[in-house]
């Protein structure tokens, strides 16, 4: 069971921001390989075969926080596009997006490739899965850094810096979890 909370985890107010090019690039953290949807679905999928209460708890909770990040990215893209004219959309390279989705959100990467489950894995073995999760957090961190380099808008940078920091914290928690699972598996053997 999940509950929706009608409040963003981090505030987004980009309606007056004119960096429409960023909408095209930010979308990769919505539906790209190292994006928030991939993260949420990966952890919420892997949790079933985690060996301990702690690891099941952590994957459930980080997976849930990632859903809140999906919503932050969606809000950024939605607000950037909301008041854009057709001319601005064409100039920002979003004509293809407009043709297929108008101003709707859609799970793609920055070049329009649709989200695919091949971005993620559930190996059914906690050491392998947690290593994938550690790598995923690092890849997401780098993507946020790349996106920060691509804009001059302080408001966009600030939100991306928050999301980048969350990847760092999740990496730390997954690392602790890996040590705990390794210990638990040694004791079992």
């Amino acid at each position: 069971m999940w509950y929706y909370v009608k409040n963003l985890e981090y505030p987004v107010n980009l309606n007056k921001c004119k960096d429409l090019n960023m909408a095209k690039l930010l979308i990769t953290q919505y539906g790209g390989p190292d994006g928030e949807l991939s993260a949420a679905l990966r952890y919420l999928d892997q949790r079933y075969t985690m060996p301990t209460g702690k690891s099941k708890g952590l994957l459930t909770d980080i997976g849930t926080e990632e859903m809140a990040h999906v919503e932050i990215i969606a809000t950024m893209v939605y607000q950037l596009m909301e008041n854009a004219t057709i001319e601005e959309i064409k100039k920002a390279g979003l004509a293809g997006h407009y043709a297929d989705h108008r101003k709707a959100l859609f799970y793609t990467d920055a070049t329009g490739n649709p989200w695919t489950a091949t971005y993620i894995q559930a190996k059914g073995e906690p050491i392998a899965d947690l290593h994938e999760d550690l790598a995923a957090e690092q890849k997401a961190r780098v993507t946020y850094e790349n996106l920060i380099h691509l804009t001059d808008e302080p408001q966009i940078k600030e939100i991306l810096a928050f999301l980048r920091e969350r990847e760092v914290v999740h990496f730390q928690r997954f690392g602790e979890c890996l040590m705990h699972v390794e210990d638990a598996m040694c004791i079992k053997k």
């Binding site: 509950y3 985890e9 981090y10 987004v12 107010n13 702690k54 980080i62 607000q79 928690r173």
Partner: protein
């Protein structure tokens, strides 16, 4: 506090709760973190119920402190920019 300020202060405590929750998943016996988590949860409960009395539910499926189905659908959604309300 107006609606926006209240939402922002709820957001601050929600974030602390998320952060402490993840830490406590790995270290459920940590005394300081448990104390902080209790304090933050109490404050959050207080802020959310005060908000909901004034502006409508923040959550759904029967879990709001104050139910108000009309306000649930009519108050702005998180992706709708609040700067428009100020104008």
């Amino acid at each position: 506090m107006n609606q926006r300020e209240m939402l922002n202060s709820i957001r601050v405590y929600q974030f602390c709760a998320v952060e402490l929750n993840l830490f406590l998943d790995n270290f459920p016996e940590d005394k300081n973190a448990k104390e902080d988590y209790n304090k933050v949860s109490c404050k959050l409960t207080e802020l959310i119920s005060a908000y909901e009395k004034n502006f409508g539910p923040l959550t759904n499926f029967g879990s709001a402190y104050v139910e108000n189905p009309k306000a649930w659908v009519n108050t702005p959604w998180p992706w709708e920019n609040c700067s428009r309300e100020e104008e």
